[in-house]
Symmetry: C2
Subunit: 389 residues, 2 copies
């Protein structure tokens, strides 16, 4: 008789973001007249910029004509995109075409990549953490170990771990790791022959000079680090789906080659239109418009930082990242503060517990929404907390 | 120290289709003047039809405007597409919206779905078989058992298996399973509480009346069968990537619900543009043009059937499927016949061994190419075999 994979039996019915969405939609149903503003899930609000749109139209037209039609592409992505990524993002690091993999979303990539490694590998994640690392690993029958946070940074462990997930700029903590700190992780990984899965999907938000734009800025990183990136948050591709990751050939055990074996049997390449769009995101005219979009979100973040500061909150983030990680003032849980925000302020925030037990004194606020919504949300927050005090 | 997943260590460096591609490109490099015709890998040659192209342009424009912009979609696909699929493909079978999953390629889906089931599940495949079932399962540390073929049909086993892969219309065998035969499988699966993974991506090619268009035409199938479909071969989406599958809620052990748990943690939905395009494939004007395309491939298949017949080959397929499964006349292996075709006729066919040891007396021929290439290939084949005899 067919049996369910035991890891799914242990898994919660909904993932944590879905639990937020369900609570919000339940409240909306009961209160159809309330204007709910979301500072919650990290979807972008700016549409895709025109030069990328133009390129996607051209790609659609390519598919209409047998002379230019594209069927199955490369398992690993088109060279035209890989070359452009190297030129723009990795030219200082001697990354070759066969070290880049184009895919259709970092959410999927960040877990699938675990299939490279022995099923009993010791995987460690931080707490708080982007919960997909934890739940995705569980869905692949992998166990994770949890690192604590000290002074807002994951504590580098004394024990040996095989795989380490690091997310910088951090979701949910909204801060980005500095070079000096990352150097310690690279030294740790080289010493312990570990692999670091470096989720760098928010790299477009980095502005601090001591924060590297890529992990490969750190000496030795090509020996131990896989970097994951995406077009979601910079090119507004959350609905288009295009991501990439680097598996350097310098990582021991021929990891790059073994990943090719896995990929050819499991994936038929990313969408042609998405790859053409991603290519166009590197055009100078696109880059300019994307920078404007990032600035728009950063202006939102500045307003949010000011507001939470005015209301006497302690928080980090919102500089090298679209997220603020705000400490709860009252002696209540993060689901309780979520309820206050939803029911009293009609604002959606993400309760910190979603990101791990260390998150229960916090909530995450996103700056990726529309400015007018952010301004209105701030009004409500300031009014509530100023009247309260 | 990080260890490679043992299943990847056992896996061959290239997948089997890639081995064909490498041999062809090597030959081309040495013989740049030769005009090679591919009757090999099953990619389509007809471009995407205009109503779908128009819809994809509209979808691209939606992404350019903040009023219509689409970010993250549903994990399981947009309802607009799921509703249309039910209306067009499943209206007789009482399939509900939460039984359909939209995804980005059956190649990925057909293996990922194994994650639903216990890692020690007894999985069986036929021989010959679409090799991704075998190699994909291996990449997930799953073992497969192999069923023999008798009278061109997989032999229904006496033993209990948990998961059975069936592909109809069959890749590579080019035939489709009839209702009476499939009934026996459904009875087997109900009796043994097995699940049938029914890969039906070539359903658009079915013309025989006793072949069901969907496995759910068979009584009881909703209790045991997951059906996989794709827009690749009918709507020419091999480069666009859009697929779907049905997991009926009637299958025991809440399989449908458990798959939702897996999906929310591993996937962020299929591309919006692809889903809008797939939706438009159901427009009457698209359906008409798609039928013309299928007829075009079927006309190719007729020509190929006639030619191989004229040359004295035994073969099956090419009626309910784009593939012919041709028996080798000489006492040589399928790689040897591949070499003859490549080097003497400058034609690429797929050696049967790729699909399993029972395939080594056969080769697969695809009718999905351009008519002029098929006509030219036939000329070469007939000349060679007629002169030879």
């Amino acid at each position: 008789m067919v049996k369910i994979n035991e890891c799914l039996l242990k898994m919660e019915k909904n993932n944590i973001f879905k639990n937020v969405a369900l609570k919000v939609s339940e409240y909306k149903k009961k209160n159809p007249d309330k204007k709910i503003i979301s500072l919650g899930v990290g979807d972008v609000s700016k549409p895709i910029v025109k030069p990328i749109i133009d390129a996607m139209h051209e790609a659609v037209d390519d598919l209409a004509d047998s002379k230019t039609f594209k069927g199955y592409g490369s398992y690993y992505g088109y060279d035209f995109l890989k070359e452009k990524i190297i030129d723009n993002e990795y030219k200082d690091f001697d990354i070759s075409l066969d070290e880049i993999y184009i895919s259709n979303g970092t959410k999927t990539d960040s877990t699938s990549i675990l299939e490279l490694f022995d099923i009993n590998s010791k995987i460690c994640i931080t707490d708080p953490i982007y919960p997909i690392y934890r739940d995705g690993a569980a869905s692949l029958n992998r166990k994770v170990f949890i690192l604590d946070i000290k002074n807002d940074l994951p504590v580098i462990p004394k024990e040996k771990y095989d795989i380490i997930y690091l997310c910088s700029p951090s979701n949910p903590m909204g801060i980005a790791y500095k070079k000096d700190y990352l150097k310690k992780w690279i030294i740790y990984a080289i010493k312990n022959e570990s692999v670091i899965l470096y989720d760098n999907v928010y790299s477009a938000f980095i502005e601090s000079e001591d924060v590297p734009k890529s992990i490969y800025e750190i000496e030795g990183a090509k020996k131990v680090a896989i970097e994951l990136r995406s077009f979601s948050k910079n090119a507004s591709f959350t609905g288009v789906r295009c991501s990439y990751y680097i598996i350097p050939k310098e990582i021991k055990n021929n990891i790059n080659e073994f990943w090719k074996r896995r990929t050819i049997n499991r994936f038929n390449g990313a969408d042609y239109i998405a790859q053409k769009g991603a290519l166009a995101s590197f055009l100078p005219e696109s880059q300019k418009l994307i920078k404007d979009n990032i600035k728009y979100y950063k202006d939102n973040a500045k307003l949010l930082r000011k507001a939470f500061s005015n209301c006497g909150f302690h928080f980090i983030g919102g500089i090298d990242s679209p997220y603020l990680w705000v400490k709860i003032k009252e002696n209540i849980t993060s689901w309780e503060v979520f309820d206050i925000f939803l029911k009293t302020l009609n604002i959606v925030i993400i309760p910190g517990i979603i990101f791990g037990k260390n998150g229960d004194n916090y909530f995450r606020v996103s700056s990726l929404g529309k400015k007018k919504d952010v301004v209105e949300a701030i009004k409500r927050i300031e009014k509530y907390y100023n009247e309260k005090e």
